[in-house]
Point group: C2
Chain length 428, copies 2
């Protein structure tokens, strides 16, 4: 389903020592042992989820579409990027008078953004899905404070029927509020961290509300779960991707540039950056994840990638089949010198551009990983995201890093709370 | 106007050797000597441009706004990012039924994008600004081939009055076509490279058409030109920024993370990545430019920046005064624990978040540069972009790199043309 290739010598990487290392990681992973094993709920999530859970998501999405023109999804980090990645990959670039929109808030703290958002939805019917495990993560809490008031001012009692909460099952500020006001609730599972949560209600409710087929998304994820659970270092693309990037890291390639020729995958790249950056970037280790979109960025960072400092590895995420496409035609006047391309589809042009770019960067000293995805639809995106999550676990364990914690995000939060004199932090 | 600070010891950086190096770069730059001196047209562009040039831009923008509902700007790289950066910085996040829209094409090769774009503008009146020095850069040429046909099919003869061309003054495919069809023409100057072209017609026409004040933009740029031309290593922020980042590069900080708390500056960051990456990334040298938006990415790459591999330097682009803003209020039910913030504006929250983040990342071993901009409006953005261009010249010359060429972008192009058997490339 996903094909991973490497520009160098695979046999050298997959030597017996590395394979036995990967084997033991595999065994620990599936035995749910090893660092962070309390957060492995995502590993068999696609095969474990119940029909009634999924039906509830779909029914609620339908209810939201009936009652509203706009769903505002409030979340940050893993409570934002999974849904955003899938929706951006699947929705059209332009829409005339969209029937239903999914917009986001709480992914930053911008007064202008929130104000303009509230103004924008003035003449539309609104529903809200607020996603936060604790309910006290500052950014979504700020956005929800404004939007909750907006909804109560606008809808009165009825606001409660338009607010959907995705939070902890048993505790927390948002759970208490939801119970008090009678908001419909969905669960952020205890054993799935934010950046691994796209297939839980965190990702599924916004994706379903946006009109996409969550059955197919989960079918793709389950296919990945099944296929990628086998230990086969040479043929399991998740293990292969992890092994290659780790070998390159050991050789001093410490920046990974994830390149795609499909602009719709920009937020899949953002999601990938969180997944890998937050999983691996600890103890002064880890590959720094960076993204580019080609051919756009061939006219920007391309020069650096070709000729700059040689600590870059490039991984190309290539889509094999186009969705909508156009074909170049012959023009009477060939001033632009493009007649030689008549009959070529734009997708085929991009595939050739990939080949030409890959060769050029390789000759510039940038080692490469190719990741080929058949097409961009719910099923294949579901497969891809599961693939990246699983590979990330292998990759982190190869660095002796716990993939499932994020100790480094506390320090800036504590600083901010101290500076703002949050109760409990004033004295320090 | 712009204040640059450094987390380390400035005196150590600005030692006598470095200062005399910078002095000689300064002298060569303003004497228009040194590598790439044929491309220094941008240096005194703001003070050199004529009233009639500017009046022509503004009149044309007005004409476009009268005849059309949508301007499609076709360009890539420097013919795209300057206008995009300024427009995104200044336009609102959301607009209900916008009166006039500026959309982009030719910045990549996506059949779905172009098809959906043509469908989107079906019921709107359309004008086009195609920007390409040669007229044969593949991506914009492809987009224009489709859109030119679209315009001719839709408007017939009248299409020629709706197409505006920004190209070479004396030669090239687009110039010839423009003369033949009678398109109104603007000039891409010979002595200004794409990534330094935002203040020429390349950037100005789309920015003016989008409804922004190009007089103020250029006033800011001219203020920067005047203020930053003086050699004063300690007080000239452009020289200071270049000196600090070069010193950090020499210490092994080879990735610069440009961080902002203002999401509207995302495309200023993209523009900056092209400017620095394409100017410096040569001869296996140069700082790799990366961008993050906070607080969004504190919940993503933040973990890596705090604790990952220590080759990162962080430059914060901080906006001191908010435009539109909101203020937090006290809520009866304090479940979200935010009442302690009542009376704080969201902009003030971001300034505190900056302080807390800066301290945290500093203690994690990430050296920092602070770049403070008073506010986001035409004048200050004009100043900022000039500042970054000038600093980039200093910074590249400190690396003994010609800031104005891009030798590494030929190889992939040649490969692509060979693979596609473009006339002239078939035999190889």
């Amino acid at each position: 389903m996903i094909n991973v290739t490497y520009s160098g010598n695979e046999q050298e990487i997959l030597n017996s020592q590395k394979v036995s290392r990967l084997q033991s990681i595999h065994d620990n992973l599936y035995a749910k042992k090893g660092a962070g094993h309390d957060f492995l709920g995502w590993l068999d999530w696609p095969s474990n989820l119940s029909d009634s859970f999924l039906q509830n998501i779909k029914d609620t999405a339908e209810e939201i579409q009936k009652q509203a023109d706009v769903l505002i999804v409030i979340g940050i980090g893993g409570s934002y990027l999974g849904a955003k990645a899938v929706i951006e990959a699947l929705k059209p670039h332009f829409e005339k008078n969209p029937q239903f929109e999914v917009l986001f808030a709480g992914q930053h703290v911008s007064g202008a953004y929130l104000k303009q958002l509230m103004n924008y939805v003035e003449d539309k019917e609104v529903a809200i899905n607020v996603i936060s495990k604790s309910g006290t993560t500052t950014e979504p809490a700020i956005a929800f404070r404004f939007l909750h008031k907006y909804m109560e001012d606008r809808y009165g009692q009825e606001a409660s029927e338009r607010i959907y909460v995705t939070t902890d099952e048993n505790k927390g500020a948002l759970l208490n509020l939801a119970k008090d006001r009678g908001f419909k609730r969905f669960v952020v599972p205890d054993d799935v961290g934010g950046r691994y949560s796209v297939f839980t209600a965190v990702g599924l409710l916004p994706i379903a509300a946006a009109g996409f087929d969550v059955n197919q998304l989960l079918k793709g994820a389950k296919q990945a779960e099944d296929e990628l659970s086998t230990f086969d270092a040479e043929n399991n693309p998740a293990i292969k991707y992890a092994a290659i990037r780790h070998a390159l890291y050991e050789q001093g390639y410490t920046n990974e540039v994830l390149a795609t020729f499909e602009p719709k995958l920009n937020y899949v790249q953002e999601w990938w950056k969180q997944l890998y950056g937050e999983s691996e970037g600890k103890e002064q280790k880890g590959i720094f994840p960076v993204s580019v979109t080609y051919t756009t960025d061939l006219h920007s960072l391309g020069q650096y990638i070709q000729d700059g400092k040689r600590d870059l590895l490039e991984s190309f995420l290539i889509v094999e089949e186009a969705g909508e496409d156009l074909e170049l035609f012959e023009a009477e006047q060939n001033a632009d010198e493009l007649n030689y391309l008549a009959g070529t589809s734009l997708h085929d042009f991009n595939l050739v551009a990939y080949e030409g770019t890959s060769k050029a960067h390789l000759s510039g000293g940038v080692p490469q990983i190719g990741i080929r995805l058949q097409k961009v639809d719910e099923y294949h995106i579901g497969y891809l995201l599961y693939f990246y999550m699983l590979a990330c676990a292998y990759s982190s364990y190869l660095l002796d890093i716990n993939p499932f914690n994020q100790p480094g995000v506390e320090e800036y939060k504590t600083n901010i709370f101290k500076l703002l004199k949050k109760p409990g932090y004033e004295t320090e």
